[in-house]
Symmetry: D2
Subunit: 420 residues, 4 copies
Amino acid sequence: MTLLANLMSTIFERRYVGAARGEWSGLAMEDLADRLLGSRGEGSGLAIAGQILDRYARMDEAERTAFFTMLTTRLDIDPDTVRAALDAYEAAPGRDSYAAYMAAAEPRRQEFIRQLNRVQGATGRLVAMRADLRRLARDHPQIAALDLDFRHLFASWFNRGFLVLLPISWESPAHVLEKIIAYEAVHAIDSWDDLRRRVQPADRRCFAFFHPAMPDEPLIFVQVALTRGIPGSVDALLAEGRAQIAGDQADTAVFYSITNCQAGLAGISFGNSLIKQVVRDLSAELPQLRTFVTLSPIPGLMAWLKEDAARARAAAADPEALRRLAALYLTEAKDNTGAPRDPVARFHLGNGALVHAIHAGADSSEAGLARSGGAMVNYLYDLTRIPQNCEAFADSHQIAASAQIKTLARAAHKTEIQGT
Amino acid sequence: MTLLANLMSTIFERRYVGAARGEWSGLAMEDLADRLLGSRGEGSGLAIAGQILDRYARMDEAERTAFFTMLTTRLDIDPDTVRAALDAYEAAPGRDSYAAYMAAAEPRRQEFIRQLNRVQGATGRLVAMRADLRRLARDHPQIAALDLDFRHLFASWFNRGFLVLLPISWESPAHVLEKIIAYEAVHAIDSWDDLRRRVQPADRRCFAFFHPAMPDEPLIFVQVALTRGIPGSVDALLAEGRAQIAGDQADTAVFYSITNCQAGLAGISFGNSLIKQVVRDLSAELPQLRTFVTLSPIPGLMAWLKEDAARARAAAADPEALRRLAALYLTEAKDNTGAPRDPVARFHLGNGALVHAIHAGADSSEAGLARSGGAMVNYLYDLTRIPQNCEAFADSHQIAASAQIKTLARAAHKTEIQGT
Amino acid sequence: MTLLANLMSTIFERRYVGAARGEWSGLAMEDLADRLLGSRGEGSGLAIAGQILDRYARMDEAERTAFFTMLTTRLDIDPDTVRAALDAYEAAPGRDSYAAYMAAAEPRRQEFIRQLNRVQGATGRLVAMRADLRRLARDHPQIAALDLDFRHLFASWFNRGFLVLLPISWESPAHVLEKIIAYEAVHAIDSWDDLRRRVQPADRRCFAFFHPAMPDEPLIFVQVALTRGIPGSVDALLAEGRAQIAGDQADTAVFYSITNCQAGLAGISFGNSLIKQVVRDLSAELPQLRTFVTLSPIPGLMAWLKEDAARARAAAADPEALRRLAALYLTEAKDNTGAPRDPVARFHLGNGALVHAIHAGADSSEAGLARSGGAMVNYLYDLTRIPQNCEAFADSHQIAASAQIKTLARAAHKTEIQGT
Amino acid sequence: MTLLANLMSTIFERRYVGAARGEWSGLAMEDLADRLLGSRGEGSGLAIAGQILDRYARMDEAERTAFFTMLTTRLDIDPDTVRAALDAYEAAPGRDSYAAYMAAAEPRRQEFIRQLNRVQGATGRLVAMRADLRRLARDHPQIAALDLDFRHLFASWFNRGFLVLLPISWESPAHVLEKIIAYEAVHAIDSWDDLRRRVQPADRRCFAFFHPAMPDEPLIFVQVALTRGIPGSVDALLAEGRAQIAGDQADTAVFYSITNCQAGLAGISFGNSLIKQVVRDLSAELPQLRTFVTLSPIPGLMAWLKEDAARARAAAADPEALRRLAALYLTEAKDNTGAPRDPVARFHLGNGALVHAIHAGADSSEAGLARSGGAMVNYLYDLTRIPQNCEAFADSHQIAASAQIKTLARAAHKTEIQGT
């Protein structure tokens, strides 16, 4: 009956806000924004918010840039007002002075975005709006600050406590599955049959976070293979004719692809929660699972190797050399903050995993060869060590690694010194 | 299988965070707060947050007051830091300077609350926490400012776009229905049979807003009677043996009770949205409905009448005088901001309704006699006039009223003058 | 939107079948039955069926008896037709001769009932119709045969494969819970608070079978207590202030009440399936459960004791004598088919349980004292012995019992002999 | 948690029925059948039934034929027993004599099938079993009678009152959608994109009947196009780039494909109910719909034309002649029972529709050209005339047709006579 409900509510809208819409059509966006922020009657507030979202949808890139510029500048804080309110609060802290300070310290554009979000279905449109903003901000630095307001609000709205973890299977709705096909970033899904191979077999799982206000849009998803032992090659995992096992015969869960779906949610981290929750749910469902491990790309390896011609040659010539150098790269190559240079390493080590094993010839896809010479890495989520690893990494970027990896890295050092 | 899942995740928790919990047990709440805000590994962050919520649950009133005081003072803004960041942002507005300003301008206690909310099921506990805070703040003004931080965050979390309207019926879960019984504030529900009379008949409806993170807790609910014509007495509406009609025989929907359920959500307004949404849904379901009207108490009437002995006498002596004076009260008695003095009038007029009719002898309950001498009022939601009413009220507290009400108020004036 | 859908479909019905209804209103039930069985256009078939069900609903007892008599006699088989078809099939067995035989051998009233069941919501009405029939048949033996047709069809419609087992909890819909209150036959539930004590605590469970065509009507339900050890008294189980335990602390599941809800489904056995399925589901949810046992009334005990004055005196004088005699009764008192005389014993022993223990002073309710002098019995479902017990009971009514019970029964024998 | 539940119940099964399974493995199917029919303990009954289904699944065609032959002959009625019971019932009709008659008159294989159906998930397997049976019966007439037993039971199990109508959309589960692709018989769906064009646009609908015991298997589905006016060509309806309209802009619902999915449900008619229910649901959702019409193939047209060389030539030469002859065929070509020769015409006319219009060049698919020279027909469901049409057709195969069709048929007659 959804359609009828829509129909009736359309009629209702026409009777109810249609006249007002006509009246607003001549107003500039600035005036609409003022009316939205001034509106005390919710009825018209909602209608104005809807009007703004609809107008935005029809804007071209230049108009959108102008719109974002208007929000950044016209709805910014007023420094003098903030100062005055701050002084008053400092002089006499209390509920009233704090209220005045809060009102002054937050730019009006945050309230503007909150008001837009009151419209049914607005959350997804605002996420898309931020994706536009971030793209446009590359060429228009004057609107870059606005991105922080979106991020600040989204961090509240997409709080972990509001997310719902759902399994994705061959019984999931087709309109969600087609998004999994479209978004998958790590190992591309090239058809519905390929998708079926990822989600239908008893030894394959997929989980995604959803937000109740965007029920048709996965936010992030992870693909899991249930295996006996830790696999060293994604080629084998995804092979068409591979042997399948029953879920309760597996001892290992392999996270072989994690994909963020929404460019508009950049900077809102879901990956750590997702892995933790999936480990928890799989543990409950399959108590015999002993090992939780990733099979991950090493996206920065080739770039790092190429910075040193001798290394690049060595790695190209010998798979074992490639493994040693990859171990060195993952454990010792740092960015200018002292964190691991490799982004995937940064993510899993920050979550408390450790570098467990490196495999050459593990990803023969074009992308895999280009980014890591075909090498892949297992990060191990050892439940007994996650908290300590987490904290050691958070405190001092200390990198947890298996004995095998340490040996490989030491061997690489030695070779390098001998090679010199 | 929920229980098993709980069981397994309990085991998981023990393996995973048990050790850490032991370590934290000796820490003061200040230290836990610092660790929570400093925590970069989500795993331990979640565990610390859970630990804080559990400790809070076991605190007595004095400990809770101390906890809130700590949050208000120790996690407040630092005025000098705000000033410096503000100066820098004013001097060179841009993404980085704005990020620094945002970080300084928001007190750390807001991030503290957001971190607590990451825990599964925390939202409801935080709403209850704010209810405690508001109660304690009456005697401890130093923690009153903290209430604004909760309200600020809740306004985002309970944004209209995230709420779900659900019908409440005799087919609803018992644990939700018992909350309806417990919360109903306007016309008390005294048993399961009384509840059944409110929600089971074909000419009775009840709707509530829910938040996805608190699925067992109604936030606000409204009770509706479907009638032929506008009723003038709640006694008749709730009478046990009354004649029932089919939903499609009604021409009028009467909102005879609206109840906010969560003291911890004070200041987050849901009532307007609720009425609008219910009007919309009922219109779609029962297209023959023509009139949407309330049957409301006049809570401030007796107090106002008693301010003037002559009025009080007149109202007590003659139902018609009571009606005239009620009309005068609703249309002319103002508070010091110029808004209507009666809180229910303020709510419905602010939503765009108009004062439609007044009935004497309409509510013979003890509460009804004490607050309004048994009089009740209909506020009419005339879909064609809501936007204008809304705006006129928002601009200048202009009160929309029917011709009948205006005549009654004029007659009251005349009588008063003559009476003088 | 259900109501609107109903409304529209009502309009549709009026346009579509209204005229026909008028036309049928003058017809006798015999004629309607003929038209229903002759109808080849489904449209009018459905409408006629609805008309018959509606008429039935308005009939008084005498009219219903007449209606059932008409079905039994007018829509019976025609022996000569059956004989001819049977001869033809015997002479030349094949698809066509078998089709003719089937058509002749089944009375037309079965097809009549099947046709009624096509109407939306008819299944529940037919179940109620059979309850009427069974009541009326006591005084009108000429309609008793018709009950077998209903039972035959219901055995197909309520096939185990079509039933759905659902947990009943404090989160179940109120309109289902009120049926649990109304139907509970073994230990009466006297209020909503009493119900809550049966379904809300973590160590209490309730499960019911539902049929998809009667989703609001439980068919049979069982109440379960999770305990440590096997309890000997239902008084203690149902005591108001009793100590509760968590589900995962229990080692025993006690089935302390099994209630058939639908008089119209007499003779269609659900209890065995229900117990098996609940044992299975509880085993999966709470793997630490070791013992599945009932705490059952002994409904025929007092009547049996009273057949022998000495026994009755002995049982009344001494709890231990009561236990011994109860053991004797359960293991040796037989009905004229050789099955146990006690109906509850017959049920559980037939399911493969064994008589495990007998408790005096276990049920102090009025009903409990009247039927069994306050004694109760545990039947034990020992998963490793169920199949053998089942078969031995099915083959020769062999009764499985614990050593304790056997000892008690032997002691009773001895006493009786000595007593003689 | 399904998997865990499965796991646990597997363990349970092993403990519980494993031993028995071993014991049965040496038994012949005859013996298993005897045990199943003799079994009084449900526990072992269920296990034996599961064993039989599992064995059947592994049988080859010859073994299945032998299995069906055994059921047909060994579990047939015993004519002498039937005769004796019949005589007794005729002599003294009553509950007991009728019970004995019922037991004798129904072959034991029906109870055998009912017992199999007690197993979880058995219904779908039995439907598939009947599909096998019907295929094998073509070459093995001795098992053809058994098909009638299946049909008899399925008619009860798949009673209209037990079916659920569900919309099929792009939001439906993929494993159901892939069955829609596989089953579609009228206008083949050649890819997921093609499917999306059938179910996602606002002016396309699809509905299917499901049975609660086979929730993953559609039984029958219909595809609907919402249009302005009655379309004359399926090519246009399915064209890739066609203009779409909103659902509430349509005045006509076109049923352009109806597909039975389950060969094992042959002879259980769902189509009529499906169309009626869809008309009802669409009327409720889109009250502005005025016309309900099919766009149907004319599968027997070419075969009929070819029976007369002159007709075939005329039809091939001139689209108008094709239309005239199609009108003649649909209204006058009869089978040997006097019903319309065309099966699709028979179906829709039997439902109360009328032949409304004929279009040449309407279906240019290979199948469309082969069966009807590209012609298609609209059958109109005129709500005000359905009951009369139904009855006139049921009584005397009277065919309802529009004036246009009658004119065309008359013109065909004239031409034929002139042509002679």
